[in-house]
């Protein structure tokens, strides 16, 4: 064959072509594999899947070691959509006790990515949550017939007592806002977080530390095994248990006797500031906010006109009424305005320059201790009048500022910072407030005189009132009230061990305590005179434009070495002596003498009788609120000069929670500006 050497040269073109191609590919591979690090990093994140393992949430005990809140496994029916085959829907519906339409609806919701944001065909999707134990058992038996279905276990909160919902709170799934606000980067969608109560305030201790399992994941998201045989996994650390300072039995007792009433009971151990009971009424069963009906129940509680979610003990700002008087006695003595023997006249009231604040019959003139015992209005009005007029102060403003500072020292006007969310700060006016609302130079002692008897602008939470009681019991100091006695392995938080000491001498507290003892032995609190317990007390009857007066009792016992200080506040119940005093006495007795059948039956009887006499307290109030949506702003002595009194909130330097508290309008948070007091 003749060789064509010209054409043979073309082998170089063809060979050259593939040499060039291989060279280009080698160059590209060199770039991909050696120069560019990006791909190794992606490969790592590609194939590893970190699965969070959840720690068990801390359990909650009461002060005596009774288990109050614990964890229990809950079972969900889940399915991996891709693995599900044709199945017997009739049997499935029968076991789940669902109608076919309901089942189809659940199925639709599960497989709709809009509703089920975590939807994936290859990972388990929840279909029915919180199976009851019988359904769970029956499902277990036949699950093998339903490929792709499985039962997954979760932990849910369980409650041993139908009580203390306001203290315990609840947990809920985190929302976008929680995740955004979370500076620890702890939460991921699907996590639970405390929503109310100590579940919220002690969230960081209760939740524990998450662990992680590093798994190997394939392209379809299927888990193929553990990375590095689990050597890099991190074990979760269980949440810390809480021991409440609450005596759960006393709490239950308090909730029982508050049935059918609106109001609060706060009981504090004076020496430690530990809250023994924090009752709000009406309340609810904490178990309502667990499980699949949580949303429904929550909405119901929110729309309930009696606001069971509103913790009246710490969120309601009420006029303290006559329970305020001891603070005034203390200030007057400390400021040298009065001494124990100073007497003021009171002829059925404080009558000064045409202003009259009524009072009831008692001897006149009267000194501090009898005034406390009889709850005399006149004494305290005169005291405040003489203090504000006193020339030892530069002017009215500075006199008022001195007065206000004492009030703040005693725990009024600001949050006490109890370890529960959404506490109200109450309200103590200052000179600036009156200068702005009435006008500089336009107000004087008589304009604001109603504050001397805990009315007018004064607002306090039952907690603040109880704290005053504890301060008097301690003869001059208090420890910030708190509901958690200790956190396991952590102990008690430092802020709940520090003493707060108002700058008032111990002897004046002693004087006031004696006056309060006199109220029990021979004054307005005779109903609380429990033999052998040396109860000291002070009643309050707070006038209220909505209807019956609020009934208030503040006290502690025994007089020497007190073990318990309480405040009972019952809305629209009448005279303090009528309702709050007997309730308070029962709580004191229940705590100091311990559980007995006698007191339980007495409490039940009392409670039943009260319910019979006041069957419709809730309904009545609803109607009234609807009829008089804006009766909250009766002109008072203070606002008489202020024409813009249409809006009770206007101009008040309230914080957000206070406004919230007022807007949600449980009875009693009304800013009563009436200077008349019947206590």
């Amino acid at each position: 064959m003749r060789k064509d050497y010209n054409l043979e040269k073309r082998k170089f073109v063809i060979g050259g072509f593939i040499v060039v191609i291989v060279a280009i590919y080698l160059f590209k591979l060199f770039d991909l594999q050696i120069l560019d690090d990006k791909y190794s990093e992606i490969a790592v994140s590609n194939a590893r899947s970190t699965k969070i393992t959840h720690p068990s949430r801390g359990q909650i005990y009461d002060r005596n070691g009774n288990l109050v809140v614990y964890n229990e496994p809950a079972y969900d029916l889940v399915l991996v959509p891709k693995d599900v085959q044709e199945f017997d829907t009739t049997t499935m519906c029968k076991i789940l006790q669902l109608k076919r339409e309901d089942f189809d609806l659940l199925w639709k919701n599960m497989s709709d990515p809009k509703k089920n944001k975590n939807y994936s065909a290859t990972t388990p999707q929840p279909l029915v949550q919180n199976l009851d134990s019988t359904t769970y058992g029956r499902l277990q038996e036949i699950l093998y017939r339903f490929p792709g279905f499985d039962i997954s276990q979760r932990i849910i909160r369980r409650y041993n007592y139908i009580a203390a919902a306001n203290i315990l709170g609840d947990i809920r799934e985190v929302n976008a806002e929680d995740i955004e606000r979370d500076t620890d980067n702890y939460y991921i969608p699907g996590d639970y977080t405390g929503d109310l109560g100590v579940e919220k305030s002690y969230e960081k201790y209760l939740r524990g530390v998450k662990g992680k399992e590093i798994l190997i994941r394939d392209a379809r998201g299927k888990i193929k095994g553990r990375y590095n045989d689990g050597k890099d996994d991190v074990q979760p650390i269980a949440g810390k248990d809480l021991q409440l300072s609450i005596d759960i039995d006393l709490q239950c007792f308090g909730e029982k006797i508050m049935r059918g009433k609106r109001g609060a009971i706060v009981a504090i151990e004076p020496k430690t500031g530990e809250v023994l009971a924090l009752v709000t009424s009406p309340s609810y069963d904490p178990a309502l906010l667990v499980g699949k009906d949580r949303g429904k129940n929550y909405a119901k509680l929110v729309s309930d006109p009696n606001k069971p979610l509103f913790d009246r003990a710490i969120m309601a700002a009420y006029p303290p009424g006559s329970t305020f008087k001891p603070t005034q006695g203390l200030i007057f003595m400390q400021e040298g305005i009065t001494n124990l023997s100073t007497s003021y006249p009171c002829y059925r009231g404080y009558i000064n320059k045409g202003l009259k604040v009524g009072c009831h019959g008692h001897g006149s003139p009267i000194s501090l201790q009898p005034a406390l015992a009889t709850s005399c209005n006149g004494y305290f009005c005169w005291g405040l009048y003489y203090m504000l007029k006193n020339h030892k102060y530069e002017n009215l403003d500075s006199a008022f500022t001195v007065w206000k500072n004492y009030m703040v020292e005693m725990g009024y006007g600001y949050k006490l910072n109890i370890d529960l969310p959404a506490e109200s700060r109450g309200f103590i006016p200052n000179a600036k407030f009156y200068n702005e609302h009435i006008g500089e130079g336009k107000w004087g002692a008589n304009t604001v005189i109603s504050i001397a008897i805990g009315q007018g602008e004064i607002m306090a939470t039952p907690l603040q009132i109880a704290n005053l009681s504890a301060t008097i019991a301690n003869r001059g100091y208090y420890i910030t009230p708190h509901v958690v006695k200790q956190i396991r392995d952590v102990g008690i938080l430092k802020e709940y061990t520090q003493k707060h000491q108002p700058s008032i001498n111990r002897e004046y507290y002693e004087n006031v305590a004696t006056g309060m003892r006199m109220a029990v032995t021979g004054g307005t609190c005779r109903g609380a005179n429990l033999p052998g317990l040396e109860v000291c007390g002070k009643t309050g009857t707070v006038q209220n434009p909505h209807g019956r007066d609020h009934s208030v009792f503040m006290g502690f016992a025994p007089k020497e070495d007190p073990k318990i200080a309480i405040c009972v506040y019952v809305e629209n119940a009448g005279f303090g002596a009528q309702v709050a005093v007997p309730l308070g006495a029962m709580v004191l007795e229940r705590y100091l003498r311990g559980e007995s059948e006698e007191i339980e039956s007495r409490a039940s009887k009392w409670s039943d009788r009260w319910l019979e006499e006041n069957p419709s307290v809730f309904e009545e109030e609803e109607v009234q609120q609807q009829l008089n949506p804006d009766t909250t702003a009766k002109p008072s002595a203070a606002t008489a000069h202020n024409q813009s009194s249409g809006n009770p909130l206007k101009g008040l330097p309230l914080n957000r929670e206070q406004q919230q508290a007022i807007l949600t309008r449980p009875i009693g948070t009304i800013i009563t500006r009436n200077g008349f007091n019947k206590g």
């Binding site: 073109v13 063809i14 060979g15 591979l29 050696i34 990006k38 790592v44 994941r217």
Partner: protein
């Protein structure tokens, strides 16, 4: 005199001695490396499955390999003259099988390309390459056949296109494209190099127009701008090299430069000339000049240059249209991904991106045998077939990938060398067919895996899992070895 028996003995001794054992060695290395890679692609180090377990892909591949050795050895025993004598009948039978497959085979993922024989499925298209190569070799070795004039192209192009049509009928476009690589054979046997050059230009222009369509320069798309500039450069180059006309080339080049400078100066002065205006003034003017000038020079070659320029421009404008209308959406996507126009890592670009991640994460020496994660965990699609190169890249690193490329390069260059040492046209043409097919498979498969060629589903020879592909390439290669083995025996036959 030597006895007949001795003669036979001698003949087979001679045959064994003259088989190109180097190629056989390369072949054995490649198929074993392939089977090991398949094992690596489908097993993890923790699983205790044996490489030879028949339930694994690698176990099955070893069976295919064993049978391949039998086939290869048998092919060596067949008289070489039979291949030449039966080239056309083999081709005809293959075509019939292809057509039958297209119409009667079951639908597997949209393609009708598999024939089932009991437990074994085969893809006739893989074997049709050998048949086509034989037929083409036979045609060229026909006495007096030479590529001269366009009529002589009809039969060889027909031989190439017939199986292409059949395979397109089977809906296996990727496998059909392989046959276009046989253009290298036509080139070696006398087709004008100009065709290759034109093809190169066409591919380049197509890529440039699509890739740089997004930005504007002088008021026209960047891609169009670059291609038109290329057209001007090509005109000058063709005038200088192809037409060997220094004067015309110089004049045109100077004219272009002058116009470009003028436009640049005008733009500095604030007068912006639209790109189309510029190019469609300058290029036609130069072409008119050439048409006038050609009477003084080689008429045909200058005319070719002019026509080439005009066709280039028409092609450029129709490229977009063809892309949008002639290609199916998934094909457009694959091109867009390969050109980097579109980056859709979760959707259309997922496969190639994962494949790049797998290879890229291998580094210099790789993650180690069976230690790869990306391929085994199914991040890479078809990890034991078309994307087998990923496993090598991930577990053996750059060392492994370059070794594979060098092995293939060696094999291809060896085949070209074998081709050129043939004394017969039949042998040479067949060998070039083998080389061309290997070149195409290597270029497309590796290019696709590393993301610079659009995804076209064709296997990596000897590596990708599958009996058809392995057997197809074994037959292709061993027929060549048999033809080559007796090259010294006869000058002609």
């Amino acid at each position: 005199m030597v006895s007949t028996r001795d003669n036979n003995q001698d003949a087979s001794n001679r045959l064994l001695a003259s088989v190109d054992w180097f190629t056989v060695l390369l072949y054995v290395i490649l198929v074993i490396y392939g089977a090991i890679s398949i094992y690596a692609a489908t097993t993890t180090s923790s699983s205790q499955v044996s490489m030879f377990d028949f339930d694994t892909y690698s176990g099955k591949q070893f069976v295919w390999i064993g049978l391949s050795f039998v086939i290869g050895f048998s092919l060596l025993l067949i008289d070489r003259r039979l291949y030449e004598a039966y080239a056309y009948p083999i081709y005809a039978i293959m075509i019939i099988i292809l057509i039958a497959t297209a119409f009667f085979s079951p639908n597997i993922k949209g393609s009708h390309s598999w024939l089932k024989f009991g437990a074994v499925s085969l893809q006739p298209a893989e074997f049709a390459k050998t048949a086509t190569a034989l037929a083409l070799a036979k045609l060229f070795s026909t006495y007096g056949f030479q590529l001269r004039g366009w009529r002589t192209y009809i039969v060889p192009v027909g031989i190439i296109l017939f199986p292409v049509l059949c395979i397109i009928l089977e809906n296996e476009t990727g496998s059909a494209l392989v046959y276009f690589s046989l253009i290298f054979v036509l080139y070696r046997e006398g087709m004008s190099g100009f065709v290759l050059f034109a093809l190169l230009c066409a591919v380049t222009y197509f890529v440039l127009v699509l890739k740089f369509a997004g930005t504007l320069i002088m008021g026209i798309p960047m891609g169009t701008f670059i291609v038109l500039t290329c057209v001007m450069v090509v005109i000058v180059i063709m005038l200088l090299i192809y037409c060997r006309s220094l004067i015309l080339g110089r004049n045109v080049a100077l004219g272009y430069i002058a116009c470009a400078l003028l436009t640049w100066i005008l733009s500095l002065m604030g007068i912006h000339i639209n790109g189309y205006v510029f190019f469609f003034t300058v290029i036609p003017l130069s072409l008119i000049y050439l048409l006038i000038g050609m009477f003084h020079d080689d008429l045909n070659k200058v005319l070719t240059t002019v026509i080439f320029a005009v066709v280039s421009i028409i092609f450029m404008f129709s490229a977009n249209f063809a892309f949008n209308h002639a290609l199916k959406p998934h094909q457009q996507n694959r091109i867009n991904i390969a050109l980097g126009i579109e980056e859709d890592l979760k959707g259309k670009g997922y496969n190639v991106n994962q494949s790049k991640i797998a290879i890229g994460s291998g580094g210099l020496t790789g993650k180690g045998f069976l230690e790869g994660t990306q391929t085994k965990l199914n991040y890479v699609p078809e990890q034991h077939t078309d994307f087998i190169f990923c496993t090598i890249g991930e577990e053996q690193g750059f060392v492994g990938t370059s070794a594979v490329l060098i092995l293939f390069l060696t094999l291809i260059l060896r085949v070209i060398a074998i081709a050129e040492r043939q004394h017969t046209t039949f042998g040479r043409v067949y060998a070039y067919c083998v080389a061309s097919i290997l070149i195409f498979h290597l270029t497309i498969n590796i290019g696709m895996v590393i993301g610079i060629v659009p995804v076209i589903g064709i296997p990596l020879p000897f590596f990708s899992y599958g009996g058809s592909s392995l057997w197809g390439f074994t037959i292709l290669l061993f027929i060549l070895l048999r033809i080559d083995a007796v090259r010294t025996e006869y000058g002609t036959w």
